[in-house]
């Protein structure tokens, strides 16, 4: 297992694989976004209670999904970084963080735009909005700790410890905030009895989810590449100074 992972840890190999994937990921993203937005904004029917405002959901909900799953992905990749001393693992968590923060921000903004017509105010201290806000703070803390170390390999380990503690805490925070103020509708898609959303609304939602995922992958590939090259550049510069 460890050996297999290390093959990908070799930056040269990693760079080659990602370069091959990149153009495809970009094309898929554009297509999915186009289809998803068309379905979401024009083709889908209005909601029986919420009217046209429900369309905000197609931008909002997948962004919230991404915000959560990117954090989980960062935690997993940080854990592999700590256990298998994987050179790319820390860097990929670092590369994913700002993208995750952006999705969280998007979810917050669209959530409050949705809140205006639905709840009568731009911001309510509703459980899910609040836990999104806290998630946003966790992302900020993660990025801040990377910026606070001169030594990049130390920064990687410190950030990994932080993201793992955060990952243990996220469910607790989520749960506590839910109890604190439950105003937001309960989970609709991932429930035991199957989705509670009508298929005409569910389809564009899922398409948008896929579009976001591939958008994430595309940006992520660019960022990881930039991180690896930046690290190399730094080492070359150091060697240059010492000559």
């Amino acid at each position: 297992m460890a050996v297999d992972l290390h093959k990908f840890a070799n930056p040269a190999r990693f760079l080659r694989i990602t370069s091959a994937i990149f153009p495809w990921a970009a094309i898929v993203t554009v297509l999915l976004l186009a289809v998803g937005l068309y379905l979401a904004l024009f083709a889908s029917p209005e909601d029986y209670q919420q009217g046209a405002t429900v369309r905000i959901m197609f931008v909002h909900v997948p962004a919230a999904w991404m915000a959560m799953s990117i954090y989980v992905m960062m935690a997993i990749s940080s854990a592999t970084g700590l256990i298998w001393k994987h050179p790319v693992a820390d860097l990929s968590a670092k590369a994913a963080a700002p993208i995750g923060a952006c999705f969280t921000f998007l979810a917050l903004v669209t959530g409050s735009l949705w809140g205006q017509p639905m709840w009568g105010t731009f911001w309510v201290w509703d459980a899910r909005l609040t836990s999104m806000l806290i998630l946003f703070f966790l992302y900020l803390g993660y990025m801040a700790i990377w910026g606070s170390f001169d030594d990049q390999s130390k920064a990687g380990k410190a950030a990994a410890i932080l993201v793992l503690i955060g990952a243990i805490n996220v469910p607790i925070i989520k749960f506590s905030v839910d109890w604190w103020n439950t105003l937001h509708q309960p989970a609709s898609v991932a429930t035991m009895d199957g989705p509670k959303i009508h298929s005409s609304i569910l389809t564009p939602l899922l398409v948008m989810g896929l579009a976001y995922t591939s958008l994430f992958l595309t940006i992520f590939i660019i960022r990881v590449k930039a991180e690896i090259l930046g690290r190399r550049l730094r080492i070359l510069r150091l060697a240059h100074v010492e000559d």
């Binding site: 900020l140 801040a144 380990k157 932080l162």
Partner: protein, 221 residues
């Protein structure tokens, strides 16, 4: 075990001899809480309503002020290196320092709470639950704080970063701590909230020293 208690005793003795840090945190707590009536207005109903939250947030912030001292002083004078080298496992060493921090920086806050609670017009049956909730929940503040302190030890402007890292993680304690007091005031059962706080404390008791120890290993490298 002897080394463990010795380390706790040393840290308490240092805090007592330095004294000033001790009284400063307490004064901060008192001043911070007194600011609320000035900002919100002296209306007793409103104060009683926000009292539990004000006291918890005040305790949180006062605790935050002292967090960076958990490891920073030992890091600066080289004691941390020696503590890492002792035969006491590093996880237990951090736990000892966390216990000392809780005893010296957090327990005094709990002891002074009743006076502040009265000044906020909190009903009598809320006050002792407030103390109980603080007693059961506040170890989490020291424990999670120690992880943040370990990660930021040795940084020039670590204090600000420390707050950014630690405060979001304090939210569950804040919520259930306040909920316990509000439940007691509203004559609802507060037992479940206290149990939850105890659960959080015990969970943090196991996980946080491990994470803080990992952070310290990084710091001395």
């Amino acid at each position: 075990m002897n080394k463990f208690t010795n380390l706790i005793i040393r840290d308490i003795r240092l805090a007592v001899r330095q004294g000033s840090a001790f009284t400063m945190t307490l004064s901060f707590f008192v001043v911070a809480v007194t600011l609320y009536p000035l900002g919100v207005g002296p209306e007793l109903n409103i104060l009683a309503r926000i009292g539990p939250g004000v006291l918890w947030v005040g305790a949180l912030l006062s605790c935050l002020l002292t967090l960076d001292r958990i490891f920073q002083a030992d890091f600066e004078d080289g004691s941390l290196d020696q503590l890492m080298l002792g035969s006491l496992p590093i996880e237990l060493m951090t736990l000892a320092k966390i216990i000392a921090h809780w005893l010296t920086s957090v327990v005094p806050l709990i002891l002074i709470t009743p006076i502040l609670a009265v000044s906020l017009n909190m009903p009598a049956d809320g006050i002792w639950v407030m103390m109980l909730a603080l007693l059961v929940g506040s170890p989490v503040l020291s424990l999670i704080g120690a992880v943040g302190a370990g990660l930021t030890v040795g940084m020039r402007r670590g204090g600000v970063l420390l707050s950014l890292l630690v405060l979001p993680l304090y939210i569950p304690v804040l919520i259930f701590g306040v909920a316990a007091v509000e439940a007691a005031i509203a004559v609802l059962p507060m037992g479940p909230h206290i149990l939850l706080l105890a659960g959080l404390s015990l969970g943090a008791l196991v996980i946080c020293p491990i994470a803080a120890a990992a952070a310290l290993r990084l710091a001395v490298e």
